[in-house]
């Protein structure tokens, strides 16, 4: 029986997580977290994860009620919450409670021309890092490995095919890789595996595939996105090699936020909107 007949007769339906890229992203981030707990010794941090996720959902619920948002927005909220779990550390309960509130709050309070400008998870990490003495990001927590890179990349690919932000990841990684290779291999004369080890770092990959690809806070046009992602790559490299800042990409994204507006001003384009059901499924339904 041909595939389209199966689909029409609804004997075979697309799994729901493939219909909505946000659900797919939730699944990917959620499995990274569970993988960390099972395999990377993060079981000591379960309280931290629970606090971050609870306060994210709480903040998102408040926003849904106060601003009469669609219930559907819990997905974006939880994505930010999981992003925080995977990067943000603090031993203070209050900081762990505050970070998700700042992240979700930034979405609804810091807006420009009808859309939020900061990447919520990034904002939720950077503000506590700047304002408190209780927060940190552990860039070594994933280790460095090909398998990890493979899973991150393939999971990300599925999301990015739908939202069309793969250009951002690729540009950022290529820029960073080119600059790191030039410095470490060609200038400093380290062996190539030094660069490889840096690029395969789980935190860098997570950042590249899941943080700077948020379609709402990246420039709308591809040209703009490529310039913007390259800028983040250059900034990250500079912050790492000049100031020895291990969390360089996170700061680079924060600094580059105003440039998103500039790129949109320069190249125009429509703001991305999440749609719960993709066009493909709609076509099948019709």
């Amino acid at each position: 029986m041909p595939l389209h007949t199966l689909v029409q007769e609804r004997r075979f339906s697309t799994p729901v997580i493939f219909k909505d890229p946000r659900l797919f992203q939730l699944t990917a981030l959620g499995s990274f977290l569970i993988f960390g707990i099972l395999q990377l010794g993060w079981q000591h941090d379960i309280k931290r994860f629970l606090t971050l996720i609870s306060f994210t959902l709480l903040a998102q619920c408040l926003a849904i009620v106060a601003l009469k948002l669609p219930i559907d927005s819990w997905k974006s909220g939880l994505i930010s919450g999981l992003g925080l779990c995977l990067l943000f550390h603090s031993s203070s309960f209050w900081v762990l409670a505050l970070a998700p509130i700042i992240a979700i709050g930034s979405k609804y309070l810091i807006r420009w021309k009808g859309t939020h400008i900061f990447n919520p998870a990034n904002f939720g990490i950077v503000i506590p890092l700047l304002l408190t003495n209780e927060a940190w990001v552990n860039t070594g927590q994933w280790g460095s490995g090909v398998m990890l890179a493979f899973f991150f990349a393939s999971a990300a690919l599925m999301v990015l095919m739908k939202v069309g932000r793969i250009d951002t990841s690729v540009t950022f990684l290529l820029t960073l890789f080119a600059l790191e290779s030039l410095r470490s291999v060609f200038y400093l004369e380290w062996d190539f595996d030094v660069v490889f080890h840096k690029m395969m770092n789980g935190s860098v990959l997570l950042f590249a595939f899941f943080m700077i690809t948020d379609p709402r806070t990246t420039p709308n046009r591809m040209k703009g996105r490529i310039i913007w992602a390259a800028l983040i790559g250059v900034l990250s490299f500079a912050l790492t090699s000049v100031f020895y800042l291990h969390t360089a990409p996170i700061w680079a994204l924060f600094i580059a936020t105003p440039f998103t507006l500039f790129m949109n001003h320069l190249f125009g384009g429509k703001t991305f909107n999440w749609k719960p059901i993709s066009h493909i499924t709609k076509q099948f339904k019709q």
């Binding site: 799994p15 729901v16 997580i17 909505d20 659900l23 939730l26 699944t27 990917a28 959620g30 499995s31 990274f32 569970i34 993988f35 099972l38 395999q39 990377l40 010794g41 000591h44 669609p70 219930i71 559907d72 819990w74 997905k75 550390h89 603090s90 031993s91 003495n133 209780e134 927060a135 940190w136 552990n138 860039t139 070594g140 927590q141 994933w142 280790g143 460095s144 490995g145 398998m147 899973f151 999971a155 470490s184 200038y187 400093l188 004369e189 380290w190 062996d191 595996d193 030094v194 490889f196 080890h197 840096k198 770092n201 100031f243 020895y244 291990h246």
Partner: protein
Amino acid sequence: MKNLKTLIVFALMMVQIEGVMAFCGFYVAKADAKLFNNRSEVILVRNGNRTVVTMSNDFKGNVRDFAMVVPVPVVLSEHDIRVVNRSIFDKLNDYSAPRLVEYYDEHPCAPIMREESVLEFSKTMQANYTSMDLAFNLNEDYGVAIEAEYQIGEYDILILSATESDGLRRWLTDNDYTIPQDADEVLNPYIKSNMKFFVVKVNLEKVASQETEYLSPIQITYSSDKFMLPIRLGMANADGPQDLVVYALTDQGRVECANYRTVQLPTDRNIPTYVKSKFGEFYKSVFERSWKYEGQNAVFLEYAWDVSPQNRVKCDPCVGPPPIQGDLAEAGVNWLNSTGKAYFTRLHVRYERDKFPQDLQFQVTPNKERYQARYVVTHPASGDFTCDEGQAYLKDLEMRRSKEVDELRVLTGWVTKHQSGYINEFSNRRLDRQDLEEERNEFIPTGSSGGKGPGGNQFPWTLPIVFVSLAFFIGLTSRLVKKLEAVRSVS
């Protein structure tokens, strides 16, 4: 004719030579077993961008054969270099070493309180070095400049800068050092990173005997944004993995590695009492197994605690006296009078070239959570167990011992022929002996070692399995939320 001079540029610290090998590892109680060979120790103190590095120096042999080369980020001035007392390393090590705690069961029929005791876990370690007198001649052809020259303690110290590795290598070779071939390749990145080379030899006039067994650790202080240990140099001549123990002191909290995983070793595990006599071997196995399980590329946390003078509980239980203010000052802590806070972290790294391509980068975190690698043995009560509580106790004891044996197998992979005897040591005192055979089969651990925790190999396919299960879960949740939304829109 000059003596053979061989120089091995050691990671942070030392020039090491074959033949004088004397790494003794560390001892447990009276066990004289060699444990961690090729082990070195460093004290790292970090406050803002001020770093104090103290390098252990357990060289034994003719001091003419000692030399050491350390890449440092800046040219050090004379007051930035000093020698400290060796006892600071022993003190920090004794205080923070993985520990075995002993508990005693109360007698079930007539409970009496007993106190816990702790098995002292002491160790010694030695580094092995060698080299020769440094001929302090400068030749511009080498592209090597002597930035500074000092006499500190029993040492003559030079700070070299170089423009290219070949020149530096030739300079060292021409001054009768034999540089391992691989070291040449690693020298270049350090030169290009504008690192200086801190070169040390013993001033023969300053030591009473050339056959000394004691050379002071050297401490250097500098300000730099780099908070790292250049381990790559030491790998140049390494034959197999090397162990490095870092004692870190900061004003903020724990120190963790920024470019490798920092992993906690399994702790608070109950193990059989017969492990007590070979606790050193036990811990060595635990470490080795965890190291393999974590992919041989992780940094292990062995201890973390607030050692501020006003913090009264500096260990629980203590295996060695906690460092006092004088010890912290000796290690390079100079901020106690202003903030009064000091946090101690002990990290253990087993590294080799394949798994550790980058130097170790560290970061200070505000994490003040305590951690200790702690293992527990519980001694059974003795006496008459004929009362009901006594009989229940014996049954529980067998269960407990069975679990201890399992735990030991998971932690170390050890399976001993004595273990069923250990589990059933008190069985003949049970009054319900007729039922025993049946039960005993449940208690005796069977099967090979494995299972979760350090023991089995890391399973890379966990991620996709978790992914698929979570996808189903999220799919279901999403449908539920949609229904909720539909209900809301209808109402």
